[in-house]
Symmetry: C2
Subunit: 277 residues, 2 copies
């Protein structure tokens, strides 16, 4: 693991690191915010999964998470959204290939050799984080924005017991029924839609729900509402009597101005669940 940068931030440290990922078969970059309390021992951690076109950097610089994480004494990990490098397959579209890993393990060419973001986020990166940072891997929570909200929800429901809580900002809720999803799941996983189901938050919610609290924020003026279909997840949560809160926020769009506005609530929500563990 290489240290790319470390900056003092809200009494703690905002670091950027890289390492050779075995599952993605390339060099990967990620960011970790450690609060001051991590100098004295392991602290809980909140994973933040980013959306289409993002790297580790967007949320690290624009989501305003560090101040609230510092207040609650928890770490935040910001992974990248896809494998990177010249020999990694890509597509001209912004929503396929690099920057658009969709948090699945690709089984189809040309994606399979590198696009293993499910295993990267579920297994490889947590092992690296646990071994190299003062983070208590028994206290994890997860959130994300847009494609990252999809990732957070599907990881949380597929890994019961792993995360104390899950939240999302404007998540892609039902990719198997959206143009943000059908194209990518088909490209990465092939045309057998039965294997898509575990990567669809609404379908997962209908089947298994989540053993912990859920918080969803969605801007009512989001320019991508037709692709995000918040009503699908909202319906599934209510039908399953899921312990959770679904908030429609009038006037807000899909930007980081929306994410940063509600970050305080999300970090406090996760801190409650993490410290109760």
């Amino acid at each position: 693991m290489k240290t790319i940068s470390e900056n003092a931030c809200f009494g703690g440290t905002q670091g950027v690191y890289s390492h050779t990922s075995k599952v993605c078969n390339c060099e990967m970059t990620f960011a970790v915010f450690l609060p001051e309390e991590a100098r004295d021992g392991p602290v809980p951690v909140l994973w933040y999964l980013s959306g289409l076109t993002c790297t580790h950097e967007n949320a690290m610089t624009k989501a305003g998470a560090q101040g609230w994480a510092a207040e609650h004494g928890i770490a935040v990990v910001f992974p990248d959204t896809s494998p990177r490098g010249e020999d990694v397959a890509d597509d001209e579209a912004y929503d396929l290939g690099k920057g658009a890993g969709f948090y699945v393990n690709a089984t189809q060419d040309p994606w399979a050799p590198h696009f293993q973001m499910w295993s990267y986020i579920a297994d490889e990166l947590p092992a690296l984080i646990g071994a190299n940072f003062e983070i208590d891997m028994e206290r994890q929570a997860i959130t994300g924005h847009s494609m990252g909200g999809h990732g957070a929800l599907t990881l949380a429901m597929n890994l019961p017991g792993r995360f104390a809580s899950v939240s999302a900002f404007a998540p892609i809720t039902n990719p198997a029924a959206s143009d943000w999803g059908r194209k990518q799941l088909s490209a990465y996983l092939g045309d057998d839609e039965t294997v898509w189901a575990r990567h669809d938050a609404t379908m997962m919610m209908e089947k298994t729900d989540f053993d912990g609290p859920v918080l969803i924020d969605q801007g009512a003026s989001d320019q991508f509402l037709d692709l995000l279909t918040p009503e699908a997840l909202s319906h599934a949560m209510a039908t399953k009597r899921q312990n959770g809160i679904f908030r429609m926020q009038p006037g807000y769009d899909h930007s980081y101005f929306f994410v940063s506005t509600f970050m305080e609530d999300h970090v406090a929500f996760h801190a409650d669940a993490l410290w109760a563990k």
Copy 2:
């Protein structure tokens, strides 16, 4: 004035606008955050002047000011740092020309036709803001980062009565004695150093001080300490018994991770002065 974008943000609106500047003789872009309270009438305003290489956008997306401004019911204006456009003179160096206006009115060629940032920030933009936004121009405060801290301090001291309070993050304190200053003041204003004096915060402080509170934050691990010379301003403030606070922050560098960490304090500091007016 043209509206480029408006996003809901912390209950208010983060807008980006452009207009034809008469003094800079080019199209200029700026950003304004209006809190929810501006829907009911004029609110106080905090000016945020940015540093070298920045546009209106850097602080708008990375400084974390909007949440605290919303909490205190004040607007924030983020101007650009220089004139822009193809026919505007530039230099290969990052610290001269575009992105490096230094908040002075250039008298020397090739800069004089466009580089009139002093008049732009002191006169033209305030008139535009006052005419087009629900902002109370009787309640203004100013802050800035690095070159923008220099701008904030020199504007505040040269325009007595204009600003209720002034603060700065890692300001260039003594440009007449620094490589961040001598080169630019010479290029823009010529070699007569007597005309530089009003654009040097330390020299201004030694002469006139400021009729209101001053707050300075400086990171002790700033990579540009030799160019910022915080000791010059600190000495001048103490010598003049300036009403103010000078804080040296251990471990912090020159980045927005530093700025965002202390933004809450700066906005609260200005809000106190603005609401007391």
